[in-house]
Amino acid sequence: MNSVPVDYYVLLSAILFTIGAMGVLIRRNPLIIFMSIELMLNAANLVFVAYASVLKSFSGQIFVFFVIAVAAAEVAVGLALIVQIFKAKKNINIDELNSLKG
């Protein structure tokens, strides 16, 4: 099978990871920040499956399942927290969350 070289996958994942990390640092809406974090996790998943297929090793694919499952658990807690904030403040802009000064 004449496939795409693994370096391309790594490069793509590095780009995705950077976009995600920048999104977390730049965007001000917790939901968008949260999506950016998911992008970072999926960038990692891409590396895992790419190398799992190159190295003919299963542990990479198994790791991806764990990442997906744990991300779902994180979504449950994270969205609940964001909804609570929204109920209290009618607004979810990160800049408004300034009663604690950092």
């Binding site: 917790p30 970072m40 790791f63 807690v77 927290l81 009663s99």
Partner: protein, 480 residues
């Protein structure tokens, strides 16, 4: 590949016991009426104490379970006992406090147990898959706990902690992915053997650095510390006390095991990064703490500064001759930090009033005249934080600096000594307030708080006279 045996479960039996107990408690809590949640607290403490009893019988044992996924050794047993101890202190502080603040709910104790079990799994993880799972198992309950008080800005703290924590997890996972790509293994031993044959060094180094960034967030090392003061101030104080001890132990324990087991081959690259991180953390933590007027924020910066001291123990991790001494010194310092930290937070909670009142440093004025024992206990904790006799703090710092100098990093030890001197300024300000200013503070009488304060204060002083015994214990905490 072999099927799991019963012997595999012996390896992680303390963890298994605690998870089963926490799950049962989640059910049992449904039948405990509101207002009598003290029963849940007692059951949770009972579970922790029972698990601790079993964990102590594991001293000296060493085994590997589930095809090298988890490991039991002196290091993990020491960490387990320390984590269970902080869980017990966490519950002792929480019960009266949550009642007084009107946020008492049974879930608090269940979440705390799940978080402790995640920390224990972290100490026993021998595979990056388990490290990741344990990281989430300890973090997700903590996000909820940080947002537990709906009456104050606690939710804000919860969201901040959650977003930054998930961000950090992203770094850990991506770093793991690169390490897996470079070596073809997620097992720490597999990574070690593949890395020592010299496979693709750059990818491995980047992966290890990303894992370090992720854990840097978790243990609040500079420059990844920005969330700490906000979260520590906003979260309920009982949660802050537990978080600043337990989560820190777990983060450092995982970092030590991962780096010392899997990445000795790239220690040349990593040592420089760790050196800078440790020095920056000590300097920034101590200097920013000076300008704080809120005691929760001050202790948050103090916990950042202490993360810097503990990070010193990592710097010589690639040096085969020094590593076991420096690990022992790091663990000893963690132990002394945990005792002092819980004591200091217990005093803070004794003076705290509803709606975040009673948390300014000026509120401590006149404490010594009215409540001399409480003021004396707080003085002990402050002296221990600075590293002055007769407390555990000075012994911990002594072992730590000695190990670092033996590893050939005298410059770092000098920075450590100098920043300790700086820290004396803001810690002693509290002592001055308590003894030399006039004021009329009021305190809450709660058995849990008084008990924790007394035990930690006595332990901090008494063990400083017989530290050899504890250090011997820490020296048996070897990595398998």
């Amino acid at each position: 590949m072999t099927q799991p045996q019963f012997t595999d479960f012996y390896t992680i039996l303390p963890f298994t016991i605690l998870v089963v107990w926490a799950s049962l408690l989640l059910l049992a809590d449904l039948f405990i009426p509101r207002g009598r949640k003290g029963i849940t607290a007692f059951l949770a403490a009972f579970g922790l104490a029972g698990t601790m009893g079993y964990a102590i019988t594991q001293v000296g044992l060493s085994s590997i379970g589930f095809n090298g996924m988890v490991v039991l050794d002196g290091f993990s047993t020491f960490a387990n006992i320390l984590l269970l101890l902080s869980g017990l202190f966490g519950i002792a502080l929480a019960h009266g406090y949550t009642q007084r603040m009107g946020i008492e709910r049974g879930e608090y104790y269940t979440l705390l147990l799940f978080s402790v079990s995640g920390m224990m799994l972290m100490a026993q993880a021998a595979d990056l898959i388990i490290v990741f799972l344990a990281l989430e198992l300890l973090s997700i309950p903590l996000y909820v706990l940080a947002a537990f008080n709906r009456k104050t800005q606690s939710e804000e703290a919860g969201v901040k902690y959650f977003l930054l924590g998930a961000f950090a997890t992203g770094f850990v996972v991506y770093g793991t992915a690169l390490v897996y790509g470079a070596t073809g293994h997620t097992s720490l031993y597999g990574i070690f053997s593949a890395a020592s044959q010299g496979t693709s060094g750059l990818l491995l180094s980047i992966g290890a650095a990303l894992i370090l960034v992720g854990f840097g967030f978790k243990v609040a090392a500079v420059p990844f510390h920005m969330w700490t003061p906000d979260v520590y101030q906003g979260a309920p104080t009982s949660v802050t006390a537990f978080m600043s001890s337990g989560a820190k132990i777990a983060g450092f324990v995982a970092l030590l095991r991962v780096f010392a087991t899997a990445f000795p081959s790239i220690s040349v690259d990593m040592t420089g990064i760790l050196w800078i991180m440790s020095a920056l953390t000590m300097v920034v933590g101590n200097f920013v703490a000076i300008s704080q007027t809120n005691i929760k924020r001050m202790l948050a910066y103090s916990s950042i500064a202490h993360a810097g001291y503990i990070l010193m123990a990592f710097v010589p991790y690639g040096n085969r001759e020094v590593v076991s001494v420096s690990i022992a010194a790091g663990l000893f310092y963690l132990l002394s930090y945990v005792l002092t930290n819980f004591g200091a937070w217990a005093v803070v909670m004794t003076l705290e009033k509803a709606e975040s009142k009673g948390l300014e440093i000026s509120d401590y004025a006149g404490l010594a005249k009215k409540y001399p024992t409480l003021a004396a206990a707080m003085t002990v904790f402050m002296l221990s934080f600075i590293g002055l006799p007769p407390t555990l703090g000075i012994v911990g710092k002594f072992y730590l600096f000695r190990a670092v100098i033996a590893g050939g990093f005298t410059g770092l030890a000098i920075i450590g000594v100098l920043t300790s001197l700086v820290s004396a300024y803001y810690y002693l300000r509290i002592v001055v307030n308590m003894y030399f200013r006039e004021g009329d503070p009021t305190i809450e009488n709660e058995p849990g708080l008084a008990f924790t304060t007394a035990i930690t204060a006595v332990a901090t002083v008494v063990f400083s006279f017989v530290p050899q015994w504890l250090f011997l214990l820490a020296s048996t905490a070897l990595l398998r």
